[in-house]
Symmetry: C2
Subunit: 370 residues, 2 copies
């Protein structure tokens, strides 16, 4: 009776260790540890998470977004279609034993929703509005040292330009308000603009990467140094030099437009200005902050990119943007915009504000540029 005797003597790998544990029961067994970045959530945190996810999903559903669930892992080759280099490098992969094929734990749910829209919603003529919640895992340790992150988010396919962007940003603000985070700072950037500026510099690849890093860090001096190698049009180089400074209240858009060197950059600035104007007219309960030096999220974003910051959370509680090329990678070209809420960051912000002065009295925290 193999199983019974195994039960009595302990699992095959562990009998010596079990003996040790049984022999020293006064303190927790040191080997009962978790992998780096993985954690248990005790009752208070677990309940807070669930309440927040419920509040977010209820808001998404009221906004017309239908909830879907995608699997924890899928074929690496399918998932990778929708991942950029950084996300692909952060992906846990393993060989699926029954097929011998490589599968990957999702580091991001957006590519899965794109796949779903490209398959189940392939023949849908109008806009597709989907929402989700779930955990993602990433090799890199993110904010709070975590590698398993709980996210809740939406994807809106089929609504191009400012209409879709405004719908997504307004829903983001509503959803945060629904879980108790009122008047967030919404940081607006534009990946199309950053890409346009960088590509007009005629810089070698290595220098281009360095230029991006300098812009992301708001390092004007470092950027000026890199730009000495630039061979593009003088106006584009001068505009690039300004990027680290073009950050602040939406009026920086006016400064930027007066100095925009070409049509592509002007169009991106006009798009941002249109979004700001509509959000203003809707009296969105948020502070708008424009950062034209926003160069993160190159992986799939193509247009506006937005993040929400609140007091008590060091990193963004919500990130999103427009990704008009992603669905085409899955064979169903369509404009799309979406965002994901970092649920644990929201838990942290709420805990912090519960133990501190009213949120409205406090200054928003700085952003961690990477």
């Amino acid at each position: 009776m193999a199983e019974t005797s195994k039960l009595k003597s302990g699992p095959s790998k562990g009998p010596e260790r079990l003996a040790v544990v049984r022999g020293e029961q006064s303190s927790p067994a040191p080997y009962l540890r978790l992998p780096t970045g993985m954690r248990d959530h005790a009752p208070a945190a677990a309940s807070a998470r669930r309440r927040i996810v419920d509040g977010l999903l209820a808001t998404f559903e009221r906004g017309g977004f239908a909830r879907v669930v995608t699997p924890a892992f899928e074929y690496e080759e399918v998932l990778a279609l929708g991942l950029g280099d950084a996300a692909r490098a952060a992906t846990f992969r393993f060989v699926e034993p029954s097929s011998g094929e490589v599968v990957a734990l999702r580091p991001d749910i957006t590519p899965q929703i794109a796949r779903l829209i490209a398959t189940r919603y392939r023949d849908e003529l109008g806009p597709v509005r989907l929402c989700y919640e779930g955990t993602v895992v990433r090799l890199e340790r993110g904010a709070r040292g975590q590698r398993e992150l709980m996210q809740a988010g939406v994807e809106l396919a089929g609504v191009a330009g400012a209409d879709g962007d405004v719908e997504a940003i307004a829903l983001a603000v509503d959803a945060l308000a629904a879980v108790g985070l009122r008047r967030p700072t919404i940081d607006l950037g534009h990946l199309g603009l950053a890409r346009e500026v960088l590509s007009s510099l005629a810089l070698p690849d290595a220098a281009l990467g360095e230029a991006r890093r300098c812009i992301a860090k708001h390092d004007g001096a470092g950027l000026s140094e890199v730009l000495k190698q630039a061979g593009g049009a003088r106006g584009a180089i001068e505009f690039a030099r300004l990027l680290p400074e073009l950050s602040g209240a939406p009026r920086v858009l006016d400064d930027a437009r007066s100095q925009a060197p070409n049509g592509g950059i002007k169009r991106a600035l006009a798009e941002l200005a249109a979004i700001v104007a509509v959000l203003d007219s809707r009296k969105l309960d948020a502070r708008l902050h424009v950062d034209l030096g926003e160069v993160r999220g190159f992986d799939y974003y193509t247009g506006v990119r937005f993040q929400a910051f609140v007091p008590g959370a060091a990193s963004a509680v919500l990130q999103g943007g427009r990704y008009d090329d992603l669905l085409a990678r899955y064979g169903r070209p369509s404009p799309a915009v979406g965002f994901a809420v970092d649920v644990d960051a929201v838990v942290g912000a709420l805990e912090s504000s519960a133990g501190a002065a009213p949120a409205s009295k406090r200054k928003p925290r700085g952003r961690n540029k990477s």
Copy 2:
């Protein structure tokens, strides 16, 4: 600008395939498939799942069970302490790249809760009541061909014997009622009894396995054949021969007690009878069914084992039992009992009853013995 050019030409692995997909957009790309057993859940199913999980957790919390969240994977060696041979064989393992150590996707959440009780709740003197929801993944293809299963369950540590068993079973019935599954059939077995009977047969290991299979399949003829090799006491062998028949309304316990060959078996039968008596006195809204031939779940169950069946679901919608040895494997000996609800089986049962005659008019479906 490496990332931008990658965006334009498609991911490194896929440009030829992308070209193919873009060339034939009339049908979904055939390679956008999911690994065997993994699936997406469309809005109706996703909402139903969420509603059910919410209803279950609300019932668990009203019953005094605090919700915790455990990670999707952890060190294989830690998880395996709480897994039997079958569950270990069904576990997805991979090497965690940053540490080079083997981690495992959880095939079962109970060992994680046991680890949590052995660490965070180590110094708790009274009973510990925890509940959870989450997905597990298993290599074997389970009911409905799924390998990623959504579960919601409870674990009650520190309440020994019938008191704990009755609390768990009554909560199970309440939880199912809360999500619309009234008057389930509760199938009661006793792993301690089966183990006691089997170990008293003096059968070689291979024949013992065969005897278990025959009992599980209610195959009396096959069992008689195997028992010819048995060298144990005549009374024990005769009692073993009866096991496939000792299944039905709780009065089979009386038949069994009259023929019980030894004290261990009598004690197990008395335990079951005590549980049935208390459940009867509480007017539990369920049909009780006793199956003394219940020999599945050898992995960690030690005493009563229960399953809930409802019309419209071919397999159990809920499984649980007493596992008094499991916590000791994590260094904190304590009696414990718990159960997990198969959320997708509940979704299926509710869908089936919504499209059929009222549940009370239908006969419960047969059980799939493995």
